[in-house]
């Protein structure tokens, strides 16, 4: 993923405790006690080394996972796991220049060192845990010193950096402790229900592949560092989802899918509701299979709320991440535009990962402290159309010397600035029906044959590296045309393409129907849970391209579920 950042927002479900308040004392937590003691002992010596380890942090993540995969009346995966991950971050050198700097070729050493996986800490035997920490620290420190040599050598042989900000800003000292009870899900009930529901594809020749999934990831993260921070936070994500895939004779791949965010399995839709949703998705897949193919065109387009949420995340959000303003390898679309208008005046965009829910729906991107031990705060990226701030981790950039708590990563990766809960707010809105009327008016005004409504986006990519056009290409799952007479027609094979600055200047109106998209975003620091919230938005113009087709034929014979009427 060197030249193109691919960030697919998979529909995942986020569930976090409501009303997050500290409910424990960090120093009472066994893992944290051991980590703190061992960190002190190690740091005392390491900071005197040449070059010194000037910052050290330990993260211990105690995690339970459960995953279930069902299809065609059978269970494929039904796995539970409990694992603890020890990770050590060592920074060698000083804040100005350390081992974590991106090299001139865009590479960077992974400086978070994961040493061990532990299934069960034994409070009677802290020595074993301390040994793991010691061993991981040793290896992490050795690597940090070696990587610092590479950074220094690279600095001598490379062109001057455009942004010579420090490599690190020490995080403020924090103390926070919140734990929550482990959720015991009624997985047996869900298993049986999904097996029954997986029979919904019987007789549907348009369905080639299907999948029914349920997963839970929950646990507690313990963090200590050499600044003196002690942070304990819980996490919990739960998801039920299904997908149906098809393929037309000319090789176009089609998909309809849906997922559900819940806090407990009791909150999942009942079986009848799920069946209805699945039947609707099957009807849409059938509709798509027989729909006309989209033609390349530039027309007025409505991005429906969840599609717009993905659009904001992909097209704009990634370009607002702090480290992308610093490295020469990125396109830096917005780097020098602080204080300038980048979209229409009635649009503001904030990233507020302190939001736990929106309209009663849990937000997967919620968190309290980032992966660098910094308390997250709301960040106003765009205020009334004007660019104000960037998302910042602990790597300062010109004009922004402190973290705003967005240094995030997947276990085993090194953090960079990432989104949390990205929200587009329109200060002027209309009802959705009015938005469609405005679309038709705009179609007529421009003399276009029709406009588009993008109902659902499955993901896509946006090019953010220098040396490449700063374009995006997103793949809708379900789109339809609206003709000047109000007639609607579903079409297949439409991609949306464009550039960020032009696209956001085309916003004409927004509806008052904000909705949430919960997903998992993949970038340099791995996969992290995110949310995006947006209303439906009318763009005066958006370019539609044909979707790339597969060169392979659809299967010669129909799927067995299409011909097997009854359970065998």
């Amino acid at each position: 993923m060197k030249k193109i950042l691919i960030c697919s927002l998979f529909l995942f479900i986020c569930n976090l405790a409501f009303g997050a308040q500290p409910n424990c004392k960090a120093t009472d937590q066994f893992p944290l006690q051991v980590m703190q003691a061992e960190l002190k002992r190690n740091f005392k010596t390491l900071k005197k080394q040449k070059p010194p380890i000037y910052y050290l942090s330990y993260t211990y993540t105690d995690q339970d996972t459960y995953s279930l995969w069902v299809d065609a009346n059978g269970i494929g995966d039904d796995t539970a796991d409990h694992t603890g991950y020890i990770e050590v971050t060592a920074r060698a050198g000083d804040e100005k220049t350390d081992n974590t700097r991106f090299l001139s070729n865009g590479d960077r050493a992974d400086y978070v060192y994961m040493r061990r996986e532990i299934s069960q800490l034994n409070e009677k035997d802290p020595l074993a845990f301390r040994r793991y920490l010691w061993n991981a620290t040793q290896q992490s420190a050795e690597r940090a010193q070696s990587d610092l040599d590479k950074v220094k050598s690279d600095a001598q042989t490379s062109a001057e950096r455009q942004d010579d900000s420090n490599d690190f800003v020490l995080p403020p000292k924090s103390s926070y402790c919140r734990t929550q009870e482990k959720v015991e899900a009624d997985t047996q009930r869900i298993k049986e229900m999904l097996v029954r529901l997986s029979n919904v594809t019987r007789g549907h020749k348009e369905v080639l592949y299907s999948s029914f999934d349920f997963s839970i990831r929950q646990g507690t993260r313990y963090f200590v560092d050499s600044v003196g921070s002690q942070i304990v936070t819980p996490f919990l994500w739960m998801r039920l989802s299904y997908s149906f895939e098809g393929k037309t004779a000319d090789g176009l791949e089609l998909m309809r899918s849906k997922s559900y965010d819940v806090i407990s399995t009791d909150e999942l839709p009942d079986e009848d509701s799920l069946r209805q949703d699945m039947e609707k998705s099957l009807a849409e897949l059938n509709e798509l299979t027989n729909a006309p193919e989209a033609e390349p065109i530039t027309v007025p387009t409505i991005l429906n709320n969840r599609a717009m949420a993905v659009f904001v995340h992909e097209v704009l959000g990634h370009r607002m991440e702090g480290h992308r303003q610093k490295q020469n390898s990125f396109g830096k679309t917005f780097t020098d535009k602080i204080g300038q208008a980048v979209t229409v005046p009635f649009i503001s965009i904030i990233d507020d990962a302190t939001l736990e829910t929106f309209n009663g729906k849990p937000l997967r991107g919620f968190y309290e402290y980032d992966d660098e031990g910094v308390k997250v705060r709301p960040v106003t990226l765009i205020e009334n159309g004007v660019l104000r701030e960037f998302l910042m981790g602990s790597s300062p950039i010109k004009g922004f010397s402190a973290s705003n708590g967005h240094g995030r990563r997947q276990i085993g990766n090194s953090p960079v600035a990432r989104m949390g809960v990205t929200r587009l707010i329109a200060s002027e809105t209309v009802p959705y029906e009015e938005l469609e009327k405005q679309l038709i008016e705009e179609v007529k005004r421009q003399g276009k044959p029709y406009g588009y409504v993008i109902d659902d986006l499955s993901g896509g990519f946006t090019q953010i590296y220098s040396g490449r056009a700063q374009v995006f290409k997103l793949t809708p799952q379900y789109v339809y045309r609206i003709y000047p007479d109000g007639r609607k027609e579903v079409v297949r094979g439409a991609d949306i393409v464009g550039t960020p600055l032009v696209s956001f200047s085309q916003i004409k109106a927004a509806a008052s129907d904000d909705a949430v998209f919960n997903g998992t975003c993949g970038a340099e620091s791995g996969w992290v849970p995110v949310s995006a919230i947006a209303p439906s938005v009318l763009l005066k113009s958006l370019e539609i391209e044909k979707t790339a087709k597969s060169s392979s034929k659809p299967p010669v014979l129909p799927a067995p579920m299409a011909i097997l009427k009854e359970s065998k």
């Binding site: 010596t45 996986e117 010691w134 065998k568």
Partner: protein, 527 residues
């Protein structure tokens, strides 16, 4: 495990023991989709399938690990189901078989378990395999034209098909509480060894059930369970060199008795680690080496068994030669080993000294398996593993088509037994080593415990000393003819193939220092 076998040779008498129950759902799903594939899977104007085989593999993996007294896991309890297969188009004379593109297509699909789910995955699999076979069929024809190959051997020499159904009992997860407690206990012993930085012990049980059906009537259902305990230690030598040593102990199960018996072996492992810590670094050496069974396993695999498979070469796109095909196919009848040591492959053997072996009564072409005399007592290469694709004009399968890389069935071995005609005791082997040392007027010679764990034996008084940083080097097929003697005590080594071998005394081996760099000493003392 109670084993009930039913071996049926199609066209001859049925041999049945007991009444094993076959997995009705699996075989019905395979049969129904196979019938549909043979009858209906055909693109207009293109060749149709003439041979179809499917197999379903159930895998259950239980693993628990502890390190320095703390439980850890690398993988959760794993249960999975994989469907794989072969679809060939054309005829027995002229088909898609035996042709490889630069990237050979290998497909395995994970599947949920139900009749419908298995049918669904078999349908996906068949479609992909059929399209791939069509492509290979055309490419093979073009290849034969380009290379002007007119009198090639047929692609298929029919052999009688067999049916073997072994009873498969439901897999029961081992007593995890007992194993976990034991792992915590023995891994905590590592804390008492001051120089060890880490000491890990894990116990693993693997159950594999295979279900096979082909369109010629060949069929089998077989099961294998293996249990083992693995220990590994990490430490730094006083001069900074990092050492990582591990050892695997096969056990029948995780019963109290088996675990207790393993404790003694773990103590021996600690004794060996103590001997390695601070041991001298070795220098270059040429002379006799006594390979203990674990080292003999590596020696034989490198020199012989790693290449004693894929016997019948493919036609390979853009190449004149199948570089993966066994070079040993050209040496049939030649002396390749010192006389007095015979080597057999016994696919139907179920266990050796209580350790479960891979047992196959029928191979992955549906042909009953046969015992092979790979190397006779005279040291000559007598037989090769063969399937139904011919190596020469007079050809018969000996039922040796197996899944070498878990995906593609090719000619291969199963359970290889190394059997000396006149085995020596451990003491006699060492005496012979010393005698040879004296004869060569060497100050010392070596015992290899593994391919990089050497022990020096001094000629003068026979005392032993562990040496680190050595490896055997420049081994060649010539070394196989340099085996002077073999021991009587044999050990089982898992892998493909499973190898049952004794110690081997090799007359002349080059042993050289390994190129390695010392690490720095820890910044901070161990807690």
């Amino acid at each position: 495990m109670k084993r009930i076998l039913c071996l049926l040779l199609l066209g001859s008498a049925t041999i049945c023991f007991g009444a094993p129950v076959e997995n009705e759902v699996y075989f019905r799903a395979m049969k129904d989709e196979m019938n549909r594939t043979l009858k209906e899977l055909r693109l207009p104007g293109e060749a149709k399938p003439f041979y179809v085989a499917y197999w379903i593999r159930e895998r259950f993996q239980f693993r628990r690990e502890a390190s320095l007294g703390v439980l850890s896991t690398i993988t959760p309890l794993e249960q999975d189901w994989l469907v794989q297969g072969v679809v060939e188009v054309g005829t027995e004379q002229d088909s898609s078989r035996g042709f490889a593109r630069s990237e050979e297509m290998k497909i395995g699909l994970w599947t949920p378990v139900s009749y419908e789910a298995l049918r669904t995955q078999l349908w996906k699999l068949s479609n992909r395999l059929y399209l791939d076979s069509l492509e290979r069929y055309k490419q093979k024809k073009a290849y034969l034209r380009t290379k002007n190959i007119q009198n090639k051997l047929p692609d298929w020499v029919p052999a009688k098909q067999g049916v073997s159904i072994e009873e498969i009992t439901p897999w029961q997860q081992p007593d995890s509480a007992r194993l976990e407690a034991w792992l915590q206990k023995v891994s905590a012993w590592g804390k008492d060894v001051k120089f060890l930085e880490n000491f890990t012990v894990f116990g693993e049980e693997m159950r594999r059930n295979d279900y096979f059906l082909n369109s010629l009537g060949g069929k089998f259902q077989t099961t294998l369970t293996q249990n083992y305990i693995t220990v590994s230690a990490e430490f730094r030598q006083p001069d900074g060199y990092r050492e990582r040593e591990s050892r695997q102990f096969l056990v029948k199960d995780f019963s109290v008795q088996q675990l207790a018996a393993t404790e003694q072996k773990i103590q021996e492992f600690f004794t060996d680690m103590q001997a390695l810590y601070g041991a001298k670094t070795g220098e270059a050496y040429v002379g006799p080496v006594l390979y203990k069974p674990a080292a003999a396993k590596s020696f034989l695999k490198i020199l012989l068994f790693n290449e004693l498979n894929k016997t019948v070469p493919y036609f390979v796109q853009d190449n004149d030669e199948d570089m993966q095909a066994s070079p040993w196919r050209k040496k049939l009848g030649q002396r390749i080993l010192s006389p007095g040591i015979a080597i057999y492959d016994r696919p139907q053997e179920t266990e050796f000294e209580g350790i479960g072996l891979m047992h196959w009564n029928v191979d992955f072409e549906g042909v009953p398996t046969q015992e092979l005399v790979l190397v006779g007592k005279n040291g000559r290469l007598e037989q090769l593993p063969l399937g139904q694709r011919p190596l020469a004009k007079k050809h018969a399968s000996n039922g040796h088509i197996f899944l070498l890389d878990e995906i593609a069935p090719r000619e291969g071995l199963s359970n290889v037994f190394v059997e000396p005609e006149h085995p020596l005791t451990d003491e006699q082997m060492e005496e012979k080593l010393l005698a040879r040392c004296q004869e060569l007027e060497l100050e010392y010679c070596y015992i290899a415990h593994t391919s990089n764990d050497f022990e020096r034996v001094y000629t003068k008084d026979g005392h032993k000393e562990r040496i680190v940083g050595l490896e055997d080097a420049n081994l060649s097929a010539r070394s196989l003819r340099d085996i002077e003697a073999a021991g009587g005590s044999r050990k089982v080594f898992l892998g493909w193939p499973i190898l049952i071998t004794p110690s081997l005394l090799v007359n002349e081996v080059e042993v050289l220092p390994r190129d390695r760099k010392p690490g720095r000493k820890p910044f901070i003392a161990k807690p």
